[in-house]
Symmetry: C2
Subunit: 308 residues, 2 copies
């Protein structure tokens, strides 16, 4: 089993450590803050035991065994030097991430795969001019990756083919669902879909078509139930006798809806105030952490349902 290096021991790094260790991979995890490395490592164990108790721990290795596979590293050098694959999970800051990659590529084996968890920085920017620039990709997860398997792999134009195929294979083998972008475009893939939805929601509130509370029922009691199992395109395919049939029925009105939707909307001002206020009435700011915990518990239940 190849060794995996994880740089950054925050929530994302902890979750990646669960993903790889429960699949049997030795993990070396590093954080530039030794206190965070300690508390983060403890949090990994707590989480794995919790998941195991609920029957929602993935992979083939039990919590205590998996935790034994995770070893703290006290430098980037120590973290990456034996790694076949490195997952960087530091703060979303270009200068910081670039520095991490400069150091990681220096000490990693020549045939390493170096992946960033970034949701918006191109691999070409992170890798440009570096000696191992052909070994660096983006592998952007949704949070937390141990409950939400999707990972989008965004290579740079110069990334070696074997890094793309190797990362896809490795991520698949540990139970993730990698998708691969053929080119670098802003928003990658996930955010383009997610924020097309966000923007349309803002327009519906701005135009006073519906209340915030009612609009936010649309996913969890409607569309989202299907999307838990089906892709957006397949959903339409099944709503008629295939997609050509679907488009012959609804294609014109979908074109019209786009026209009606109008120019881009800025997420600010009175519309943002209204949305923030109305959600805050239901979920006060000091209850967000509790609600996230609830979300992750539901995700764990759904994970079990989908994998039984």
């Amino acid at each position: 089993m190849e060794t995996v290096g994880i740089i950054g021991c925050g929530l994302v790094g902890q979750s990646w450590a669960i993903v790889f260790s429960t699949a049997g991979h030795p993990v070396r995890i590093y954080d530039n803050d030794p206190g965070k490395l300690l508390s983060g490592t403890q949090a990994i164990l707590t989480k794995m035991v919790e998941l195991e108790t609920k029957g929602a721990l993935r992979g083939t290795v039990k919590a205590d065994k998996a935790f034994g596979l995770i070893k703290p590293a006290y430098s980037i050098q120590e973290c990456v030097r034996e790694a076949a694959y490195v997952q960087e999970c530091v703060f979303e800051d270009f200068t910081l991430k670039r520095k991490v990659f400069e150091e990681a590529e220096r000490y990693a084996p020549d045939d390493v795969m170096l992946a960033s968890s970034t949701g918006n920085i191109f691999a070409s920017r992170l890798s440009e001019g570096l000696g191992k620039k052909t070994r660096i990709i983006v592998a952007h997860p949704l949070n937390p990756p141990h409950l939400v398997p999707l990972v989008e792999i965004i290579p740079a134009p110069w990334t070696d083919d074997d890094v793309i195929s190797g990362a896809r294979r490795l991520l698949q083998s540990v139970g993730q669902e990698p998708i691969v972008a053929k080119k670098e475009t802003a928003g990658f893939i996930i955010c383009r879909i997610q924020h097309a939805i966000t923007a349309e929601c803002f327009k519906l509130i701005r135009d006073e078509v519906v209340s915030v509370a009612d609009l936010d029922k649309l996913m969890p009691h409607g569309l989202g139930l299907r999307y838990a199992f089906l892709g957006a395109l397949e959903t339409s395919y099944l709503n008629a006798n295939g997609l050509k049939h679907f488009c012959s029925l609804y294609g014109d009105s979908i074109y019209e809806l786009q026209n009606q939707s109008g120019p881009p909307i800025k997420l600010e001002g009175a519309t943002l105030d209204i949305i923030q206020q109305q959600i805050e009435e239901r979920i006060p700011l000091d209850k967000i952490e509790e609600r996230r915990k609830w979300r992750d518990e539901r995700l764990a239940e759904l994970f079990k349902l989908k994998h039984k």
Copy 2:
């Protein structure tokens, strides 16, 4: 318990009959094709027994009792004359639906609520000039309503307030999740969100950013898992410390993504060919029904999970 009239005994009508009868409402169901009325009524029983066996039958009334509450009607008059609420579920054709409402309003009690299951015809068009025009609304479900509780209520400008509040209350009492539009706009609410997604998917395929197979993993292994429990706006709210914080971090790039997304796209031509072909390789046209059955089985499992 108020009597409910259902006009149309196809898949949608059958599902509405399950919704109301398992909550204890007497149901009178009508179809202008007597053969379809018979086979449709039998299908209701089969479905209810199946759901009961799986532990996914909703409501408080057992399948055999609920089925006893459903009586065929052999005319629209018979269907609606004792009904407090009527749900029209005939084919998506304006002339046909208008004719149904002309007849239904003639025989229904004065204080009836008359609802259409249409996904795109305004209540104002269906009701204009009719004697009971203030009693007519759209109550558009997602299919099948007995597994997907969302219903969007779209009143006409002249709909009586007590019809809107009464329909919301009744639908809620039988376990649906009604949302109310404050005005009639094309696409209502559901289709505006659903087709913002569809359009962005077409653009991602047209621009060769990703394969169809990878793109359709995005919902069932990623965003859709969250959306099974959380609204789109709440999702963003939880991804930062509230929505204002979220917009301060990502608002500019979401605005940029909308600009980058460019003008409306027609769902036709080479892009449609590619998508149809690639989905068809996975789900041939003659396997669509089987896949729908699979979808509904998964929806029933999720329904159980969400209601336990």
